[in-house]
C-alpha cells in the first residue's frame, strides 16, 4: 500500500524506459531517485520497488531465466520452473515446479528477494501471496518480439545493471536485423505451425511465432485469425494447403502416422519441417539464432 501511494504521487515524474511496448502491455516506467531506489510498473499494472540489486532470485519463466543468465546473474538464481531448461547451467538451479499457478510455499522455501513470474491471470493469486509475504515479485508478460527489450531492461533494473541490459538487447536486435534484411523470396512460402492436436491449435495473428514467421520471409496460413493460439480444423488446413508444416519432433511422428493428417498434401508429400521448439518456442535471448534456424529451415538460406 505504501509503495502504491508513493508511486501514484510521482507518476508524472516517471520516465519511459522502454521502446515499442505492445498494445496489450502498459509501458513500465521507472523513476530514478537519489538513493538509487526506483519504481517500476510491472505487467499486472502494479508498482514494484527495485534498487538494491537482487541477490536471491526465483525466475518461473524460461524466457526470463535465460535472460538472467545472459545478464550474468545466473549465479544469483535460487529457483526456476520445471520448464526452464536453457542454458545448461540452469539445470543446476533448483526446480520449484510449475510456471503457471506456481506453488507459493515452494517459492518461499528458497528465501528469494526477487521473484519473476509470467504475467498471466493464472499467476495473479501466487503473485499476491508472495507480495503479502514481503517478497518483491515482478510479473512480466513477454508475448512479442517487441517485449524483449522491455523485459531485459526491467530485469537489468532489478539487478541494478542497466548497461548490461542495453548491450544484451542491442545484440539481440542486431542479430534479428541480419535475418530480416535478407531478401524476401519471389514466392513467399506458406506455413502451418502445428502447436497441438487435441484440439488442433496453431498460431494466429498477434503471436510471437507469427511475427517470427513473417520476419524470416514466410507466411503463416492462419495469420488472419486474431487469437494468438486459435483452434482450427483439419478441413481448414487442407483447404489453406500450406507449403510446409512446422512441427516439433514429438508431434511430427504422430502427424506422419495419422491417416487423418495424410489428407493434408504437405503431410502426404513429406513437407514437414522439424522445429527445435526449445530454441524457437519463446521470444528470448536466442531470438536471432531462432530466426536464423527458421530461415534456414524454410528458405534453405543460411544467414551468417
Amino acid at each position: 500500500m505504501f509503495f502504491r501511494q508513493r508511486a501514484a504521487s510521482s507518476i508524472a515524474l516517471l520516465a519511459t524506459l522502454v521502446v515499442g511496448a505492445s498494445a496489450a502491455c502498459s509501458a513500465p516506467k521507472t523513476e530514478r531517485r537519489p538513493q538509487a531506489v526506483a519504481f517500476v510498473r510491472d505487467d499486472f499494472g502494479d508498482t514494484i520497488r527495485v534498487g538494491a540489486p537482487a541477490r536471491r532470485i526465483v525466475s518461473l519463466n524460461p524466457v526470463t531465466t535465460e535472460m538472467l543468465f545472459a545478464l550474468g546473474a545466473g549465479s544469483r538464481l535460487v529457483g526456476r520452473s520445471h520448464w526452464d531448461l536453457y542454458p545448461a547451467a540452469a539445470l543446476a538451479v533448483p526446480d520449484i515446479g510449475n510456471a503457471m499457478q506456481p506453488n507459493a510455499e515452494a517459492v518461499l522455501g528458497v528465501h528469494p528477494d526477487l521473484v519473476v513470474v509470467y504475467a498471466s491471470p493464472s499467476n495473479r493469486a501466487a503473485t499476491v501471496q508472495l507480495r503479502k509475504a514481503g517478497i518483491n515479485t515482478l510479473a512480466i508478460r513477454d508475448d512479442h518480439i517487441a517485449d524483449i527489450r522491455r523485459t531485459i531492461e526491467l530485469l537489468a533494473r532489478a539487478l541494478d545493471d542497466t548497461a548490461a541490459g542495453k548491450i544484451l538487447a542491442d545484440s539481440i536486435e542486431k542479430s534479428l536485423a541480419a535475418v530480416s534484411a535478407r531478401p524476401r523470396p519471389a514466392k513467399v512460402p506458406t506455413v502451418y505451425w502445428h502447436v497441438w492436436d487435441t484440439p488442433i491449435l496453431t498460431i494466429g495473428h498477434g503471436s510471437y511465432l507469427d511475427e517470427l514467421v513473417n520476419i524470416v520471409g514466410a507466411k503463416n496460413i492462419f495469420g488472419d485469425l486474431p487469437e494468438p493460439s486459435p483452434q482450427v480444423t483439419l478441413e481448414e488446413i487442407v483447404r489453406r494447403n500450406p507449403d510446409f508444416i512446422l512441427v516439433g519432433p514429438a508431434s511430427a511422428k504422430k502427424l506422419r502416422e495419422s491417416p487423418l493428417w495424410r489428407s493434408v498434401p504437405a503431410v502426404r508429400d513429406g513437407r514437414l519441417l522439424l522445429v527445435d521448439t526449445l530454441l524457437v518456442g519463446r521470444p528470448g535471448v536466442r531470438l536471432g539464432e531462432a530466426a536464423r534456424s527458421l530461415r534456414a529451415l524454410i528458405l534453405k538460406d543460411t544467414v551468417r
Binding site: V232, T233, L234, V238, P259, L260, S263
Partner: protein
C-alpha cells in the same frame, strides 16, 4: 413400430449424413462434394470429403447407434426413463479406464475400448452398490444420484491420473472428455463398429429378457427370467456399448436419454424395435449435432458433448418434471 417410422428415421439419418458431407468449416458446392465423393475434381476437396468428412459421419453413426441402444436397454432394465450411460456415470468410468490406458501408452483403438470397458464395469458396479446402500434401488432418482456421484468420482480420478502430465496433455484430455468426432479415421471407426456390433447383437439377443425386466423383477422371474443373470448380462452389454463410444469419441451425454424417448413416442412397442429405432435415430442425432459442432464457430470446433448437452438438458428437465 410401423415400417414407415423406420423409413422416416432412416431418412432423417440420411439427411444428417448429407448435411455432414455438404457442410463444414470449408464451404464446398454440392457439385464439388459430389465429384469429390468419386475422387474427381479439386484434390483438396477430395481429401476433405473422403478422408475427413466421410469417416467422421461413419463414426458418428456408429457412436450414435451405440449410445441409443445402450440407453434404450438401460432404461427398460432399470425401469427408469432417465437412465442413460452418461448420467449413470458409466461413461465417466469408461473415461477413467481410457485415460489410464493412454497414460500407460496403450492408446490403439483396438485396445482402448477394452480398457474403457473395464472402467465402465467398475462404474456400473459402484452405481448399483451405492443405490442399493441407499436402500432404494427401485427409486429412479436415487439411482441417478448414485450415477452423478460416481461420475464426479470418475472426473476426480481422471484429474488425478492427469496430475503429472503437461498442461497441453491435460488440455487434450479435457477436450476429449467433452466429446468429439474430430479424430475419426476409417481404421478407428472399423474397430469401434466391431465392438458396437458385438454389444448391439448381445443386447438384441437379450431383448426378450429386457422386455420382461421392464415389468419388474418379480414378474420377470414369474415369467421365467433368471433375473440376476439377465440383469448382469444387460449391464455388461450396455456398458460395453457405452465404453466403446467413449473410447471412440469421448464423453457424449444425453443421446442415450433423448433418442429412446423419441422412438417410444413414435410408437416403438417392443424393446427390440425401440433399440433398433434408437440405433438409427442415435446415429442421426450424433451426426447432426456434429454438423452443428463444426460449423457454428468455424474454423474452431465446439465440443460435441457440449452440443448434445445443450439439447439434452432441457429434455431431461422436462422428463424429470413429468416424473415427479
Amino acid at each position: 413400430m410401423k415400417p414407415r417410422v423406420y423409413v422416416a428415421l432412416l431418412i432423417a439419418l440420411a439427411l444428417a449424413a448429407l448435411a455432414g458431407l455438404a457442410l463444414g468449416p470449408v464451404s464446398l458446392s454440392p457439385a464439388a462434394v459430389w465429384s469429390a465423393l468419386f475422387g474427381h475434381g479439386d484434390p483438396n476437396a477430395v481429401s476433405i470429403v473422403q478422408a475427413l468428412r466421410l469417416p467422421r459421419i461413419a463414426l458418428g453413426i456408429v457412436i450414435g447407434a451405440g449410445l441409443g441402444m445402450s440407453g434404450a436397454a438401460l432404461q427398460s432394465t432399470l425401469r427408469n426413463p432417465l437412465a442413460e450411460p452418461y448420467l449413470l456415470g458409466v461413461s465417466g468410468g469408461a473415461a477413467v479406464g481410457a485415460v489410464a490406458a493412454v497414460s500407460l501408452h496403450y492408446s490403439s483403438l483396438a485396445f482402448l475400448p477394452i480398457a474403457a470397458f473395464a472402467g465402465a464395469l467398475l462404474a456400473v458396479t459402484l452405481v448399483l452398490l451405492v443405490a442399493r446402500a441407499a436402500g432404494a434401488r427401485g427409486d429412479p432418482r436415487v439411482l441417478l444420484m448414485a450415477g452423478v456421484v460416481v461420475g464426479a468420482f470418475a472426473n476426480a480420478a481422471v484429474m488425478v491420473l492427469l496430475a503429472g502430465e503437461s498442461a497441453d496433455s491435460v488440455r487434450g484430455a479435457l477436450w476429449w472428455m467433452m466429446g468429439s468426432l474430430s479424430d475419426a479415421t476409417w481404421q478407428g471407426t472399423r474397430w469401434i463398429a466391431i465392438y458396437v456390433g458385438i454389444g448391439g447383437v448381445l443386447l438384441f439377443a437379450l431383448g426378450r429378457e429386457i422386455e420382461l425386466l421392464a415389468l419388474g423383477e418379480d414378474p420377470a422371474a414369474a415369467l421365467g427370467v433368471d433375473v440376476e443373470r439377465a440383469t448382469r448380462r444387460v449391464y455388461l452389454a450396455a456398458s460395453l456399448l457405452a465404453a466403446v463410444t467413449v473410447a471412440g469419441a469421448g464423453l457424449i451425454g444425453f443421446v442415450g436419454l433423448v433418442v429412446p424417448a423419441i422412438v417410444r413416442a413414435l410408437g416403438a412397442r417392443s424393446v427390440r424395435s425401440a433399440m433398433l429405432g434408437a440405433a438409427i435415430a442415435g446415429g442421426a442425432l450424433v451426426v447432426g449435432a456434429d454438423v452443428v459442432a463444426r460449423t457454428v464457430r468455424a474454423p474452431a470446433e465446439l465440443p460435441l458433448g457440449a452440443v448434445t448437452a445443450l439439447i439434452g438438458v432441457p429434455f431431461f428437465l422436462m422428463r424429470l418434471r413429468r416424473m415427479t
